[in-house]
Amino acid sequence: MHIMEGFLPFSHAVGWTLAATPFVAGGLLTIRRRIRAKPEQRMLLGVAAAFAFVLSALKLPSVTGSCSHPTGTGLGALLFGPAAMAPIGAVVLLFQALLLAHGGLTTLGANIFSMAVVGPFAAAGVFKLARALKASFALSIFLAASLADLLTYVTTSAQLAWAFPDPTGGFIASFAKFAGIFALTQIPLAISEGLLTVVIFNALARFNPQELQDMKLLPAGEAQA
């Protein structure tokens, strides 16, 4: 989902940077408030960031014959709310943009928006919906994390299609082409991310049930995912 350095027209680069900035700033406030209220959750916040670090470093082969990587933002979005993930995703993306020439500074705003804003909010929304529809805890986690991953890549495709509409087919034709690269490749990876997020939640539910209950993620009666 990394749009490479310089590969967004200037106006788009500025626009996405402006769009992403309030989410990052708001997320920092959310995190600060949360840590002040519950300092013991600092470690868990580290785990959410570490999970995004690991997953976004793993480039996995996919059935389309190309490689891509999961995002790892679903876990933190479920634990700390979607707003908290914007600054965490921004740190991951900045690390990759500065040291790895992967993504870039001019495309940082667009990449933050897809990975650290759309993904986490999708995760939170899907989780709420799945729980409302009486899906089991594990299934809800799985759906939230994998759809967040997939929607991140759909967003990237839309961003690129908007910046580079097809000369004949316009936005739609261009979106179909970019989605053919990003979204199709991502489907098995999104499933992997969903499964890994369930594994982590199983571990948290086993060893830290109190913290999950404090976060109102686990109802008191449902100690096991």
């Binding site: 590969f7 996995l60 059935v63 490689c67 040291l99 500074l105 990237t156 690129l160 970019f178 594994v199």
Partner: protein
């Protein structure tokens, strides 16, 4: 059951990553297989808008593919290390809590 569920989930993740290596045929032309989707998108931009010129270049580029893998491995290792540390702490804390619940007089009397 619980332990099996996690093992099965991890097995599924491994299969999802390994199966494409068998399922995907090598492209007939000289096109590279399992290239990064990010780079494929970059090529597609070149097809849709052949005149587009990137207007900014990365400030720092890894000197080679090996250095890039090194940095990605460092990124993954930092993350995995922290998660492992946290889980280790959690397991120990849970164990101590359980031990304290079983014989409270012993822990209370410890100096």
């Amino acid at each position: 059951m619980k332990r099996h569920q996690n093992a099965l989930l991890l097995l599924a993740v491994v299969l999802l990553a390994v199966l494409p290596l068998w399922l995907v045929d090598k492209p007939a032309s000289g096109a590279s297989i399992f290239a990064g989707a990010d780079n494929k998108a970059m090529e597609l931009i070149g097809q849709i808008a052949p005149t587009y010129q990137p207007w900014f270049a990365p400030l720092l580029e890894p000197a080679s593919g090996e250095i890039a893998s090194l940095l990605f491995a460092v990124q993954a290792a930092l993350g995995a290390g922290f998660i492992g540390y946290y889980l280790g702490v959690s397991v120990t804390r849970e164990k101590l809590r359980r031990a304290a619940a079983q014989n409270p007089e012993k822990t209370a009397g410890a100096d």
